[in-house]
Structure formats: structure tokens, C-alpha cells
């Protein structure tokens, strides 16, 4: 109706639809023009000063060594490979950090609500201490005051002659593929499929008949049993190689460098303090009536928390939890302070310095962090939607 009243034949500026289109076209043209102008300006200036630009540098050979690389790397590999290695190292810290911080955060958060005075106060002290110290200082503390004060490799702490703890890191037996490896992988996949089918069947049976099923124990049996039988049939899937002290360092086996340990530990403890508060507020947000109702049904503390309170509290917990995960991913860039070879220290540090192409390198680094953060948010938003309470 409104459109019909104001509609006039032909083009007229007093028509609200025409004005809307006009403004939008002008804005789009302006934004595109601005973007093109900035890009063109930067290119001209770079050329004027003789600074090379473009992404060809990614194919050049790197020429330097890296302390920790999850994929095979030699010094003659390209900068692009260095970028991938840095990215994998960042993702490694982020992934492990998120899992450990969530676990620790949930435990501490619930502990703060405990009626036991000692546990309550300990959790409070933990949260207040680690929330209020800047993360870089915590990382430096763990690295310089804890890990570097461990004895050198010749005086390392020896566990069973298999694990060695020194200031060069945690040296452990390394696994390498043996004959039984691929059958083992197939068996693990088979076990996972079996567990999923079993859970579905058990849930269906419970919905129909109300008979409970020991999902957890049967699932565990399947996960351990099927690969175990496979290992017996086809032989061990891995060879173990024990680290040996030769000359300066340990040779053989795997090593967790102290930089990785310090970074993961510091980030976990720091982020867990925040997550604990988020969990506590989430649990407090569930009305006390729920606990009372659960009690009157005869449920004890544990099942009440697990089956009644936390599923409802998750609605409140998930959004700020997402922010904390993003913070952890971004705080991993503080690793440059202790020499852990992740993206910022490797790519935006060494590669930037050697090629001098600051704009391209920083643009790539920023895009990657953006991509990581957006992926985490997408995942968490999907989970949030899935567990949302459907209100009528």
C-alpha cells in the first residue's frame, strides 16, 4: 500500500525507493573506489621506492633451520613451506590449549561453587591470581623460571631410561610405522563406526522401551578390543625408538621442546582462570528450582550437575567461551618472546626480515589468524544452535 501511494511513473528523487537505490549504488561505488585507490597508491609508492612487492618470495628457498617442524623440512625448502610449518605449530598450541583449558576451567569453575571451604578458597585464589597477571609475563615465568632452570641434558631427570626431562625438553620414545600400522588404522576406524552404531541402537532402544544400556563400558570395550585383536593378528603397529644421549643432545625418539611446554602451560592456566568464571556464572544462572526438583526426584550431586544443571548452563556458557578460545588462539602469538617457532615468530618475524616485504607478510599473517578465529566461532555457533533450548 505504502509503495503504491508513493509510486510515481518515471525517475524521481522524492521516491523513497529511488533514493534508497541511489544511496546504495553511491556507497558501493565509493567503497570499491576507495579500496582500488588505496591499493593503487600503495603499489605506486612501493615501485617508486624500489621495494619489491608481490608474492613471488614464497617460492624462494628459506635457508634457515627450524627447531620444531611437524612435517619434514630441510633448509632448502621454500618460504611457503615455512609458512605451513608455522601455521601447524600455531594450530598445535591452539588445539591442545583449548582442550586443556576447557577441562581445567570447568573443574575450577565447579570447585568455586563447592560447599567445601578449602576447595572453594583454593579455586578463588587460583582464579584471582592467574586472571590478573598479563599472559606474556606468565609465559616468560614458566619458560625462564621453571623450564630453563631444569638440569642440562647430561644431568637430566631419568625415568625408566625411556623418558628424560631436562632443559632441552621432554624426550620420549618415538614411534615409527611398522608392518601392522595400516591394519591398525583400519581397525580403529572400524571400532569408531561400531561405537557410533551401538550408541544409536542403544538410544533408540531406550526411547522405545526405557531399558538403559551400558553405553560407556561397551563403547570402551569396542574401542580397545577391535584394534587390540588387530594388533595381535597383524603385529605391532609401531616401532619404539628410545632416546639416547650422544654428545650434546639426545638422539632419536620424540622431544617436546620447553618452548612448547611453557607456552601451552601458561596459556592453559591463564585461559582456564577466565573459563572458570564463565562456567561459574553459567551454573549460577540456572534457577535453584532445578536443583530442588532434581533433589526431590532422588538424584544426587553428581548426576544433578551432569544431567540437569550443566546442559541448561551451557546456553549461557558457550558464547563467552567462544571469545576465550579466540583469545587463546591469538595469545599464542606471544610465543615470539620465548622463541617458539609459530606463525608470528617464524613468518612475520624471520621471513619478513629476510625478504623485507612487510605488507605482504603481515597481510598473510592477519588473514590466517582471521581464518582460524572465524573457524572457531563458526564451530561454536553451530554447537550453540544445536544445544539451544527450543522455547515455545
Amino acid at each position: 500500500m505504502q509503495n503504491q501511494i508513493g509510486a510515481q511513473k518515471g525517475f524521481s528523487l522524492s521516491d523513497p525507493r529511488v533514493r534508497a537505490w541511489l544511496f546504495q549504488i553511491v556507497t558501493v561505488a565509493f567503497v570499491v573506489g576507495l579500496g582500488w585507490y588505496l591499493y593503487h597508491n600503495t603499489q605506486t609508492n612501493l615501485q617508486h621506492r624500489g621495494i619489491t612487492s608481490g608474492f613471488d618470495f614464497l617460492e624462494r628457498s628459506a635457508g634457515f633451520g627450524i627447531a620444531q617442524h611437524l612435517i619434514p623440512y630441510v633448509e632448502s625448502d621454500s618460504y611457503a613451506r615455512v609458512f605451513v610449518i608455522g601455521l601447524l605449530n600455531t594450530l598445535l598450541v591452539t588445539f591442545i590449549g583449548i582442550i586443556l583449558a576447557t577441562l581445567l576451567g570447568f573443574i575450577v569453575g565447579v570447585a568455586r561453587l563447592s560447599p567445601n571451604w578449602m576447595i572453594n578458597k583454593l579455586a578463588t585464589v587460583y582464579v584471582e591470581t592467574f586472571r590478573n597477571i598479563p599472559p606474556l609475563l606468565q609465559i616468560l615465568f614458566w619458560y625462564f623460571a621453571v623450564f630453563l632452570t631444569l638440569p642440562g641434558p647430561r644431568g637430566s631427570i631419568n625415568i625408566d631410561d625411556m623418558f628424560f626431562i631436562s632443559n632441552r625438553g621432554l624426550n620420549m620414545p618415538g614411534a615409527s610405522m611398522a608392518d601392522g600400522f595400516w591394519p591398525f588404522v583400519a581397525a580403529v576406524l572400524l571400532a569408531i563406526v561400531a561405537v557410533v552404531l551401538m550408541v544409536r541402537h542403544a538410544n533408540k532402544r531406550f526411547d522405545e522401551t526405557g531399558e538403559p544400556f551400558h553405553k560407556f563400558w561397551v563403547g570402551l570395550l569396542l574401542l580397545l578390543g577391535i584394534p587390540g585383536v588387530c594388533a595381535l593378528l597383524f603385529g605391532s603397529p609401531v616401532h619404539w625408538e628410545v632416546p639416547q644421549l650422544k654428545g650434546f643432545n639426545f638422539v632419536g625418539g620424540w622431544v617436546l621442546i620447553p618452548e612448547l611446554l611453557a607456552l601451552t602451560l601458561a596459556l592453559t592456566i591463564y585461559t582456564a582462570a577466565f573459563i572458570a568464571e564463565i562456567v561459574r556464572s553459567g551454573i549460577r544462572s540456572v534457577s535453584h528450582g532445578q536443583t530442588e526438583a532434581a533433589r526431590s526426584l532422588g538424584l544426587r550431586e553428581g548426576p544433578t550437575l551432569r544431567k540437569v544443571i550443566i546442559p541448561q548452563a551451557l546456553r549461557v556458557i558457550i558464547p563467552p567461551l567462544t571469545s576465550q578460545y579466540l583469545n587463546l588462539a591469538k595469545n599464542s602469538s606471544l610465543a615470539a618472546g620465548i622463541g617458539y617457532p609459530e606463525m608470528v615468530s617464524l613468518f612475520a618475524g624471520t621471513v619478513l626480515n629476510q625478504t623485507g616485504q612487510a605488507i605482504e607478510v603481515i597481510a598473510i599473517t592477519m588473514s590466517v589468524y582471521l581464518a582460524i578465529s572465524i573457524s572457531i566461532s563458526l564451530l561454536m555457533n553451530w554447537y550453540n544452535k544445536r544445544i539451544a533450548l527450543i522455547e515455545r
Binding site: L38, F248, G349, G356
Partner: protein
């Protein structure tokens, strides 16, 4: 109306952003003269090269080169301001115009001289990469370092040269990189790494800062060429010539035996024609460089000749005690050679 206001605001912001003011090529000298001082990029603390002293003034051979440039341009060596830069930001600071000259123990390589829009104006110090180890390891040569953990400063030519050396000799190593040289030295002390590697001058400087310097020894091998010198932006020939010839003037003064003590009387006497040309008593060589006539006199009087500057910052009277070695004059067993002023 509100739409118009917001559009206008965005337009002005864009115009401000888009107008990147990049220094016109050839205009550094004018900008410096207008500012009234030289903005000099130095390191974040390397004894002997550029380090704050007890009062907070930056001292060192790199800092003195900048002071010499200021003395040449303004007649006053104090007209210089220092920016302390780490290895990551040094080139972008110069490229963007934040500093006028970078005098930061930077190695002269082809990729830096050609692909970054920068040019090197000379060599302040001929250096090479070496290794610093604890005497307890019982190592007497770099070839015995197979399997060692090596502390390196990130993004420097050291990383590349050390990697090449170990590869060429079939040795394995684990690199640990740090942002600043201080952090790498701390890790050597704590035992995180077996070896500290850097330019030999830096090794001597870092060793002097350790808790027990006599426990550490610099291994005899020098595994690469590291000519360290001042850097300026490309496309600015005037400024480039000024910095280049400032360094040459200091070398020429030492060659001619002109020191900060006798430069005034040498300038007045005018007996030696070479010295007369150098010190401005004869000819208009300062004018060619767009500098005042007595530019060399001011440099030598206020800062010193190359030998004096070397001795003051790196010589026998300092904790570093570095020999002139390669940095002696060409007629004295070294390779420092300056073209004549005439």
C-alpha cells in the same frame, strides 16, 4: 541530513588515509635541515655499537657515525635523535621514513641493497660470524659442534649463514631463535643452548655482559663475511653521498694523522696540500656535497677520526678489547680504504 554528514565524515577520513605522505626522493637533506636534527636508527642495546650509558645517552661506533653525519650537516654533533630498533622493525622504519639513516650493525648483502629500496653507504666494521661456547664443553673448534643446540637472533643473516655452514660440513644442529640478542645470551647462560652464534663483535659484547665472562670462549672459526654499515633510502643521491663521505672523511683523517686534538691547528697551518683539501682550507669540496666548508673539521673535532672512535668504543680501554684486525687501515694490515677528497 544525517546521511550527508556521515558520508562527508567517511570521505574526509578516506582522504586522510589515502594521502600517504612519502618523502620525496632527494628531499631527505632538506627535511633534516628543516627538522634541525638527524633521526638515527640504532640497536636496542649492543655494547660497543649502540647502547645507552649510565646517563641514558647512546654510545657506540654506530651512534658515533650518526653524530659525525650531524656534525657534517649542522656543525653540531649533538643534533641527533636516536630510535632504538630491534632486528624485525629496522628496515621498515627506514623504508617508511621514520628514521633518516640506519646505523645498526646491519650486514651489507645483495638482497638488502637491491630488493628493499635501500642502499648501503659504506662499511663501518668488517665482521664475520663466530661461535661462543662454554669452556666446560671442551670444544675447541666449530667442526666439533655436531648435534649442538644453537641460539640465534631471529631474522638475521646469522640464521642463514649458520645453516649453510652446518650443512656444508655435514653437521646437525637445532636452532633456537629469539627476538633480541639479550634473550639469546640468557639462554646460553641457563644452558638451554650449547652455543651462541652471532657477529663476532656481538659475541664479545654479549660475553662482557654475562655473569662469568671468563668461562666462555669464542671459537677461532669465522664462518662468513659480515660487512656492517649504515643504510639509507634509495633514490636520494645527496643524502647517500653525505653519509658515504662522512665515513670516508673519518678514515681519511686517521690516514693523514689528523686527530680531534690537532685538527684545529692542522686546518689553520695549511702546509700539507692533502690535508688542506680534506679540511676545507683549499677548494670547494664541501660545497659539492652540499655541506659547509669545514665539515671534516667539525666531524673530527666533535666525534673523532675512525681510529679514535674505534678505540673509544671497541678498543683496549673497553671491556670488549677487540683488535683492529680487518678494520685497520689498508696501509696497516687491514682493509679499511677511503677514496681521496679532491
Amino acid at each position: 541530513m544525517k546521511m550527508l554528514k556521515t558520508t562527508l565524515a567517511v570521505l574526509t577520513a578516506a582522504a586522510a588515509l589515502g594521502a600517504t605522505s612519502f618523502a620525496q626522493a632527494g628531499a631527505t637533506l632538506d627535511a633534516v635541515k628543516k627538522k634541525g636534527f638527524v633521526q638515527c636508527g640504532v640497536s636496542d642495546g649492543l655494547p660497543g655499537f649502540s647502547v645507552p650509558d649510565a646517563k641514558g645517552n647512546i654510545v657506540g661506533i654506530d651512534a658515533d657515525v650518526c653524530r659525525a653525519v650531524a656534525a657534517a650537516v649542522f656543525g653540531d654533533a649533538t643534533k641527533v635523535k636516536f630510535s632504538q630498533l630491534n632486528a624485525k622493525e629496522r628496515f621498515t622504519a627506514l623504508q617508511s621514513g621514520e628514521v633518516d639513516v640506519l646505523s645498526r650493525n646491519t650486514t651489507w648483502t645483495s638482497s638488502r641493497d637491491a630488493g628493499m629500496g635501500l642502499v648501503f653507504a659504506g662499511v663501518t666494521y668488517y665482521d664475520g660470524i663466530g661461535f661462543l661456547v662454554n669452556k666446560k664443553l671442551g670444544v675447541s673448534s666449530a667442526k666439533e659442534l655436531d648435534g649442538a643446540t644453537v641460539c640465534i637472533q631471529a631474522g638475521t643473516t646469522t640464521e642463514l649463514n649458520v645453516s649453510d655452514y652446518f650443512r656444508a660440513n655435514g653437521l646437525k644442529y637445532t636452532p633456537i631463535t629469539f627476538d633480541t640478542s639479550d634473550e639469546s645470551a640468557k639462554s646460553l647462560e641457563s644452558g638451554r643452548c650449547d652455543v651462541l652464534t652471532s657477529d663476532k663483535s656481538q659475541l664479545y659484547a654479549q660475553r662482557s655482559k654475562l655473569a662469568a665472562p671468563t668461562e666462555y670462549v669464542v671459537l677461532p672459526e669465522t664462518i662468513s663475511k659480515e660487512p656492517l654499515g649504515p643504510v639509507v633510502r634509495k633514490g636520494d643521491e645527496e643524502w647517500f653521498s653525505i653519509v658515504k663521505w662522512t665515513l670516508f672523511a673519518m678514515l681519511n683523517a686517521e690516514e693523514a694523522g689528523i686527530t680531534s686534538k690537532n685538527v684545529e691547528e692542522q686546518a689553520k697551518s695549511g702546509k700539507n696540500p692533502d690535508n688542506a683539501r680534506l679540511l676545507g682550507t683549499d677548494g670547494e669540496y664541501g660545497k659539492d656535497l652540499k655541506l659547509p666548508k669545514d665539515w671534516v673539521v667539525q666531524i673530527v673535532k666533535q666525534v673523532g677520526n675512525y681510529g679514535e672512535v674505534f678505540e673509544k668504543n671497541l678498543g683496549k680501554s673497553t671491556p670488549l678489547q677487540i683488535d683492529r684486525g680487518l678494520n685497520a687501515l689498508w696501509n696497516n694490515g687491514g682493509i679499511q680504504y677511503a677514496p681521496p677528497v679532491r
